[in-house]
Symmetry: C2
Subunit: 180 residues, 2 copies
């Protein structure tokens, strides 16, 4: 990728996350972003379609990085046998901790729900296999949604209580979820 593009994207990402620490997503203006990033208006629009698109791009970048390892394992081996859901979840939590700043910023205000939506797409892939053979009276559909939301909300809660370690959070999650 062209060096200029990389620099521009990074400048936008930095400006955006910087603004997120001070104000809510919905009140952030594209004008503010390009002012802070110090780029031209048309440049922004040559990279991103809208503000939502920017958020989506940023989320995708973060999630691709975090989930790439775990999702590989999941497709090549048997997910729940290989190393267990618990180890996998803890691993994810350690990765997420590195992005705590961005997550806390976006999750503290509106726009957090957009983040949650993108997050859940990846979680569905991750938990998809673990739910297959639950021969209870509960729809697999419901079960998957339950796990995904449960974990996503745990992470949201975590951003408001960053004093806990990934292992502690993992503990909370598995003590309150029906799947081990």
């Amino acid at each position: 990728m062209d060096r200029r593009q990389k620099k521009t994207r990074q400048a936008v990402y930095d400006a955006f996350t910087g603004l997120l620490k001070k104000k809510n997503y919905s009140v952030i203006t594209i004008q503010e972003i390009i002012d802070k990033a110090d780029i031209g208006r048309s440049t922004f629009y040559s990279h991103f379609e809208t503000k939502d698109d920017l958020l989506k791009s940023l989320c995708t970048e973060v999630f691709e990085h975090i989930f790439s390892t775990e999702l590989e394992k999941e497709t090549t081996h048997d997910f729940s046998h290989d190393h267990g859901t618990e180890a996998c979840v803890t691993h994810i939590l350690y990765h997420l901790k590195e992005h705590m700043d961005f997550m806390a910023g976006i999750l503290s205000g509106d726009g957090g729900d957009l983040f949650m939506g993108y997050f859940k797409v990846y979680l569905e892939k991750l938990f998809g296999h673990a739910v297959r053979d639950m021969s209870s009276g509960i729809p697999a559909d419901y079960m998957l949604n339950h796990m995904v939301c449960d974990f996503a909300e745990t992470v949201r809660w975590w951003t408001g209580h960053p004093e806990y370690t990934p292992d502690e959070i993992s503990g909370f999650f598995f003590e309150t979820t029906p799947i081990k």
Copy 2:
């Protein structure tokens, strides 16, 4: 309340819920609402500050109606002893079913998260007492959030699978939540 005001509010509510069946919350325009409600622009603004305020008012009206009974019981008697969390939840679910149309509309697109936010405020009041004396290693804070989100997401899932009865949904909820 003045008969005119009542009529105006109802017309706006109807127009709004009607539009929600056809398009997402975020793309609905105030102009569309007042056109469909057949009221003047300034009239809308004398009733509601913004579109979000309208949604909030509508949610509040619905929730006040649904939760008033249960929240009364909760303050006067011992919540978990009197009739049990399970009966209470089922009761709420029966009430919610009456508003399935509105819920499905708002929850199917964006704006659903706003609904969820208002919903959770009431659920916190409802579940607040049930969480008090959980002497496990889990923060009561986390536990309450878990229950609230769990139930709210169950309801969201329900609006996408309205073929299930309130009792079935209640069953799903209590089989996957650590609190009985």
